[in-house]
Structure formats: C-alpha cells, structure tokens
C-alpha cells in the first residue's frame, strides 16, 4: 500500500508547521519527508524523487527562489510554496520561476489538500493531452477540441483573443497563473507590460460566462497575483 502512496517533501524550518503537515498529510495517504533547510531539501528532492514539494519561502539558509531554480534544473515536479502575507511580489516571483501554486500562511488544511490534488493531477496529465479537452462544470461547457463554449446550453460567441485567454486558463484549470504567464501565452512576450489588457479581457470573459461578473464562479481573481480557473 505505502509503495504507491504519493511522496511529498516538506521544506520548512518551523518544527510545529512540519509536524502539523506530516501528521495531517500522512492521514490523507501521503508519504511525507521533511527537510529543515533549503540545502537539505534539494538533496532530499534529488534522492527521493518526490511527487510534490511543499516549500516555505522564508528559509534560514537560502532563498526559497534558489531552491525552486535548483529543482527546476532537473525536474518538473509540482512545487507549492508557502509565503507570508503582503508578499505578493514573492508569490509572483516564485510562480514565474516555475512554482505551481502558493498558499499564504496561515492556511487551512482543506485548502492545502485541494492545492495538492490540483497540482498532482496536472503533473500526471500528459502535456497537451487529449482526454481533458472537454470541461463541464454546472452550466458551463467548454470544448477545446471543437472550440465551442456554451453557458446553460446556449453557445457563447467569443473573439479570438477571448477564446485564446479562456483556453489558456482552462488548460491550467485549478492552478493559479500570474499576469505575466497569461500575457506571455496569450499575447506573446512583447506584451508583458500590459497587464491591463488582460484585465479588460478577463472582464469581457466574465460578462459572457458568469451569471454575476462581480461574484464569479469560474474565473477567479488571485488578488495582486493573477487568475485561477476554478474547476
């Protein structure tokens, strides 16, 4: 049984948080290994080849960003970073470096579990895989293969850019994407400074897809960081 348990490495200097993560994640069927420092974490990650990495950005020995860079050199394993409040810039930096998601301390366990599941699902899906081409959630239906979007059975007409934006978000469904990542994928690298373009198109998409654009159900805003398409 334990052989097929997903392996998670927790890199965190605070013993109380490590203990809480180990205890609660173990009961959910994960094998948890701990590292106290960044260096130790990189070694552990190389040795155990875990399915997922939980990384605290405020480590005593090295910058959390350096850990992300080191791991990304040789592995695409999902990384979830833990950061303090009011550190939007750190979150964005970590995400742009290749972290998959972030959680702001203090966080609830349910939230963490949800993020871990989304990250693992993304990691296990083959790149540009076919099986997930159709997304259905309540009355929203998106068929990436046929390029069809409908709300409550009614086809929705999207402009090419709106559609491209939606498809990028849907492909990374459940995962947070920074403004920069979306801009690069939808508009190309030369549009990195025009985050307001993205916000205008998001607002148009919400008008078309959400029942109440001010209380969105699918196209969620990650304050100061980016967007997340909720499954």
């Amino acid at each position: 049984m334990s052989k097929i348990d997903p392996v998670i490495i927790v890199i965190e200097d605070d013993p109380a948080i490590r203990k809480f993560l180990r205890t609660s994640l173990s009961t959910q069927g994960f094998s948890v290994f701990e590292a106290e420092t960044g260096k130790q974490g990189i070694v552990e990650a190389g040795m155990r080849k875990p399915d997922l990495l939980i990384l605290d950005l405020g480590l005593p020995d090295m910058d959390g960003m350096a850990v992300i860079r080191a791991v990304r050199n040789w592995s695409a394993m999902p990384i979830i970073v833990l950061s303090a409040r009011n550190q939007e810039q750190h979150k964005i930096e970590a995400l742009d470096l290749g972290a998959d998601d972030y959680l702001t301390k203090p966080f609830g366990f349910g939230e963490l579990l949800a993020r871990i599941r989304v990250a693992l699902r993304h990691a296990n899906r083959p790149a540009d895989g076919q099986p997930n081409d159709i997304y259905v959630n309540e009355d929203l239906r998106i068929d990436l293969h046929k390029r069809l979007v409908s709300v409550g059975g009614q086809d929705v007409h999207l402009t090419p850019l709106q559609y491209r934006l939606l498809s990028v978000l849907v492909k990374h469904a459940g995962k947070v994407m920074t403004h920069q990542q979306i801009l690069k994928e939808v508009w190309g690298p030369s549009y990195q400074q025009n985050a307001h373009y993205l916000r205008i198109y998001m607002s148009q998409l919400r008008q078309k897809l959400e029942k109440d654009p001010t209380q969105p159900r699918y196209l969620l805003t990650e304050s100061g960081v980016g967007y997340r398409f909720k499954l």
């Binding site: 009011n86 402009t159 307001h196 916000r199 205008i200 998001m202 209380q215 304050s223």
Partner: protein, 553 residues
Amino acid sequence: MPSKQPNPGRFAFSETDPIDLVRGQSQPAPTGSAMPAQTKIPLDLDSNRQGYSGYVWAIVVTAVIAVSGHTLYGRLELSNIVMVFLLGVVFIATRYGRGPSIFASIFGVAVFDLFFVDPYLSLSPANSQYLITLAAMLIVAVVISNLMANVRSQARVAASRERFATALYAMSKDLAASRSEDDIVSVAVSHLAEEFGGQAAILFPNPAGELCYPALSPAPESLRSADLGLAQWAFRHKRAAGCGTAQQTEAPAVYFPLHDKDSVFGVLALQSAQPQRPFPPEQYKLLDTMLRQISQALVRNRLAEQAKLTQMQVETERLRNALLSAISHDLRTPLATIIGSATALADDEGHLQAADKLELSRAIADEAIRMSNLVNNLLDMARLESGTPELDRQWYPIEEIIGSVLTRQHKALDDRSVKVRMPPGIPMLYADVVMIEQVLTNLLENAIRHSPDGSELEIRVETSHSRANIAIADRGPGIPAGLEDKLFEKFYQTQREAAQSGVGLGLAICRAIVELHGGRIGARNRPDGGAVFEFGLPLEQAPPVLVPEEPVE
C-alpha cells in the same frame, strides 16, 4: 571692543560676539564714548560736499547785504547796518554750518569796515573798535552753526532710525507670520536683499554638522555661490567671516553665525550688490538687529517644533497604551477559547463524543482565524504608519476588485445576498489593488458584523466629478449620531469590549489606505434604516488605450 580700534570702513569683530562691535552705534548722540570713528565719516563727507556752495552763498549774501545796506547808508545808524550783517551770518550759519558762517563773519566785518566806516576802502586801525563787532559775529556764527549741526545730525539720526524701524517692523511682522523654518529663511533672505541690495542665504548644518544649502527652491535673491568652507569657519568659531572682517576679508560675501545664548544653529551669508565692497558702516546697526531678529525667529520656531514633537510623543504614548490594553484584551479572549478547547482535546481520556471533539476543534479554528485577522490588522496599521508605504498601482476594473473580495468573503457572507449595483462603462481604477481590496474587505466585514444575520447588503458603484465612489450599505442599527467621523479613528469601538469586536483598527486602516490613494472615506445613515460606508477614489485622467480587436468573421 575698545581694545581693537576699528579701521574706518572695515570691521574687526570681537572674539566673543561678532555683532557686538556695531552695538556701540545704538547710542543716539554722536558723543558716545564707545562711538568709533565710522559714523563721523559720513558727517564730514556731508559738510565737505555742501561746503563749497556754502562759501559762495556766504559771499553772495554778504554782498547783497552790503549793496542794500549801502543804498540805505546815511538813513540808518551804523549799528543797525551791523545788525543786518549779523542777520546774514545767522542765515549762513543755519543753512551751511560752521565754516561758511565764520567766513561770512570775517568777510562781513571786512566789507563793513571797507565800505561803511570812514576812512572808506581802508582797514584803518582807528576802526579797531569794530573788532568787537567781529568777535560778536564770530561767536554768534559758531554757536548757531554748532546748534544747527546738532539739530541736523539729530534729524538725520531720527530719519535713519525711522527707516531702520520701518524695515525692522516689516521684517518682524513677516517673521512673526512665518510658520516654518523655510518660511523664516525666505522672509529673512528677501528682506535682507531688499534692505542691502544684494543676495543672501541662510545655511543650516546637516546632521553631521556640515553646513549645506537648504533644500528650498532658491528665490532670485538667494545667494547660491556661498563659500561653504568660510561659512563653516564662521559656524565653528562663532565669529563673522568674509568680506570686511578679520577672516578672509577679500571674500565677496560676509558670513554671520546665527546663534542664541548657547549654540550656533546656522550661518547667514550676505553679499552686497557690489561684490568686494563692504557694507557702509551705518547699515551695520540695522544688519545687527535684523540678524538678532532672524535668530530669535529661528529659535522660536525650533522651540515650537520641539513642543509639537513632545506633544506627538505624548500622543504616541497614549496610543501605545490604548493599543496595549486593546490587544491584551482582544488577544486573550480568543486565546482563552483556544487553550481551553485544545487542552480539553489533548487531555481527553476517551470521554468526548465525536460531536464534542468537532465542536471543540471548530471553536479553536474560529478563534484562531479571529486572532489571525487581528494580527493582520495590527501589522497593516503598523505598515501604513511606518512612513509612506509604496503603492503598487495598476489599472483594475472595479468589478474585478469587488468580485475578488466577494469570493474571498464567501464563507463570512454565509448565503447573505449582496446586491451589486454598478452602471456599465465605469472606467478602470488606477490603484494598489491589494490595498483597495483590503478596504472593501474591512467595510464588508464591518457591515456583516453590524447587521442582523441574513439581512441584505448592497454595494453601489457610481462615478461623479472624476471620482469613483464605492458604497457599502447594510440594514443594521446604523451609526449613532455624531460618531460618523470618530468611527475612523484608531482603536475606536462603538460597543466597548463587545464580544465580536476587533481592536477598532479596520476602519482606521480603510481611511489610511483611501487617503494614501488621494481619496476620501465617510459614513452616514440611510434614510430608510442602516448605515452606508462610502469611499471615493480619484479617476486618473488617462485610462489605458486598448487596440480594438478585429471582429470575429
């Protein structure tokens, strides 16, 4: 001062007090023992200048009297004609001073002797009795010219005093109206420039004790080419330096230390309109008094600022105490629940039912979240108050901000309906979105806390006068009259120690953030019950241009 004899036109300053030298001139009469030679120089110059015409007038007046006296000769007694000559001498003495009047006396007696006394056209020794006339005329001439000289000099002193007084009054009036050091400096510089026709600057030391130019934008009369090294010398030695002083007398400007009894706090640099020329001596008295007034104004200003600082420290202390008592209460209450529930769970020997355990752990979670919010508020307030935080301003649609907040408050809203009323076409906001979301979150939490469960909340957005207004309205009991402004003060709570209270920082944080964005926040009651909290943010002039997308085929 008496030990050093001042050079005319130049000033040697005493060791202890650079301005003391000129103080001697404040004696009103020119007879003062401390009066150095300088003030006499202009007097002498004056009489020299006038003297030439005085002698001419003496000849003319005497000649006129002689001619007119001669026509009346024989009809008048000689003694009466002498009186007319005496009258002429008196006239010259009053108008032209001692020299011309003495000349007029001698000339008059000579003319009288030559043309009026027998034998004519000769100064015969028989007429020696007229030496008495000559003596009398000379005495009258000297006495009257001296009296007149005194009167004139006093008038001159009075006139220059009046001018000094006017100049001083004008400056002291402006200085009294000055509210800051910068004000004082610009008043001082402009008055000095007006009075002495040059350029002036006041240099203050930086924290390291080095003099530097004030950060003030320079006025046309500000001196921008001061010799900082020489100014530093004046500052360190508490003595005047530069033009006309013992130290580097050839410098273009003169530097006076500004000081009170104990310490020097700056240096005034003054450069006259004609560089390399010292100021005329009589101006030094005025300059001295002006320097004193400027020093006094600066001292007064520093004392006032110190008092303000002390007042602020007292206020800070009071706030800190309020903070401590609020925190200790608001942190202890949830802690009591957390510790109690947690120990009940930890020490359980199998007596707790599953439902009990769930209830206890939920209580721990709820109270911990409450504590976390409280700590967040405290940290936010501290961040907002520690100088001006940097705003990460970007263009955001208002509906996205509202949407993000409502999504995050989903749980706290607990199925309450929030009606969002927002007309289409509201321009984007240029703001730090994390901070504005914080404002909205705090106002929403406030509305949830102060209105009955299940009652409707409303968010209204409207624009007016290049300003976007966002209002959050509830159906609670409303705001007690007169407290609309007090609500936004730190640590203010309507119900002290109420069970669901925060520290009373939420609204204060809102106000700080909104004001940081150049906006306003306020609260009022709705006419049909409930409270409205509204904040307005300025709409920036140029919303970003979006290249329109080609329509779909």
